[in-house]
């Protein structure tokens, strides 16, 4: 694997996010929603904690189920539609390098989007006592969640030439993984533990308690690996 190629793809993709309105819309809207939720919990409940903030159903839904599909929808579909995929895949670049470059640039955009939460933490820290580790692990949990949903979005985008279809399908798949955790109470106890493991929500709530155990990491990394692997298979399907 040639890291130089990954870097070339990565910086081109990141630049093109910031050349289009999508990056700014996502960042500004996220900042507005998170700022609102942060100040609500901060002033109304009067506790120096970010638990309400990170645990917010609304903010998770918007970020993982709407924003990430919006960012990833054009990743490969636009390349297919414009024919530039043929251009890229006849350059001395492997499929994996191409996928990783694109994947890492989307992940970087999300990390940038999440970065204002550090500011919220500093503000609370100045006023009252707040635990450091739960904040860090919650942030890590958010990034891992994003990494998984970005993988889904990129894979779906590689399936179609139409970015709107890519958006809708990744919203549906993301919603499935996301809501499954919230709906666990309706399942019989015997199957809950199986479903629990495949839902993202269960792992996220574990993480936000301040503990990152290896089972959680294995879950996320294997899911990410799986989505990237599917993307590679999908790109190779032109050869079938």
């Amino acid at each position: 694997m040639n890291t130089q190629n990954i870097k070339t793809i990565f910086s081109k993709e990141l630049k093109s996010y910031f050349n289009s309105p999508i990056a700014y819309i996502v960042m500004i809207v996220f900042m507005a929603i998170s700022g609102f939720l942060f100040s609500m919990s901060f002033f109304q409940i009067n506790i120096a904690s970010m638990r309400e903030f990170f645990g917010s159903f609304f903010i998770q839904l918007v970020l993982f189920v709407v924003f990430i599909p919006a960012i990833t929808m054009r990743t490969f579909s636009e390349e297919k539609k414009q024919g530039t995929l043929e251009l890229l895949l006849t350059k001395p670049v492997t499929d994996i390098e191409l996928i990783l470059g694109k994947y890492l640039s989307a992940l970087t955009l999300i990390v940038i989007t999440l970065s204002p939460t550090v500011l919220y933490f500093i503000i609370i820290k100045m006023i009252g006592p707040i635990a450091f580790w739960p904040f860090v692990t919650s942030l890590v949990g958010y990034i891992l969640m994003s990494a998984f949903f970005i993988g889904i979005g990129i894979f779906v985008s590689s399936l179609t030439e139409n970015q709107i279809i890519a958006f809708i399908i990744s919203v549906l798949i993301s919603l499935f993984f996301f809501l499954l955790g919230k709906l666990l109470i309706v399942f019989p106890v015997s199957v809950v533990s199986i479903f629990e493991y495949i839902t993202t929500d269960y792992h996220l709530s574990n993480i936000s308690r301040g503990v990152i155990d290896t089972r959680v990491l294995i879950y996320y990394f294997s899911m990410i690996f799986f989505t990237l692997f599917l993307t590679k298979v999908s790109l190779e399907s032109r050869k079938w």
């Binding site: 130089q4 070339t8 043929e86 895949l89 350059k91």
Partner: protein, 311 residues
Amino acid sequence: MSIKVTNLTKYYGNYLAVDDISFEAKKGEILGFLGPNGAGKSTTMKIITTYLPPTSGSVEVDGFDVEDKSLEVRKKLGYLPELNPLYYDMIVTDYLEFIAKLDGVPRGEIKKRRDDMIRVCGLESVKHKDIGTLSKGFKQRVGLAQAMINNPDVLILDEPTSGLDPNQIIEIRNLIKKLGKEKTVILSTHILSEVTATCNRVIIINKGKIVADGTPQELQSKSKGQSIVTLEVKNNCDKNALLGSLKEIRSVNKVDFVKDTGDSFIFNIYGNHGIDLREVISGKVMLNKAIVLSMQAKQSSLEDIFRELTK
């Protein structure tokens, strides 16, 4: 040997796109791919450029197999795909730098190669513009600059002059001719005059098969076509008598009376290929005491050969 295609066959599902073709192309050759739409030109190019694998047969570029040594092949290649895909949201200089990096142009040479290509392809006036805002001709030149930026040994150009105006077409053809001296160039086209103007070898493909391979001159001489003489005589003669005596000429296959313009008669006289009928015809005309107004001989052109082979 730069490109070696051996028994190449490609199926899309059940559809046979390329049917057992073999050819070779050497350095210094500009090879024109000619054929009707759907003949398999683009498919062959996609296989040579490693985008699609062959169903059977093999393709080697500079001795590297397109399937086993795909990355090596891609390093040697410059490719302008059909319809010239570009990133419309990038400016020309950024785009060319991006492509140069992907092509593995050494870091220190990227800027130099970029500026060379801008100069060679005449992009100086638009180099800071978004590609999406450029005219079709300029986009085509950006596509060519992209294909040549790594100074490849082998250039594969899928319809390089489509969308250009006549002046640009001549510029691009001259550029391709110049490059062709030290590289191997394969270009596909619908435009027959392009082949005669640019290529030193032609391969005509029809329904996935090679139906002709040779220099434009060789193809013309091999053709089963015929020579045609258009004769115009003043109308003060006996039309039927002249028609009759023209038909008597041994190597004439057919004589058509085309029209009576009011003061002249026009005939088309068809003879065997490669025979100049004008001398005998003028003799016959004199015997009939007619007055020749004009006489033109035509050999069958590449157009005729193309039509004959791809019917």
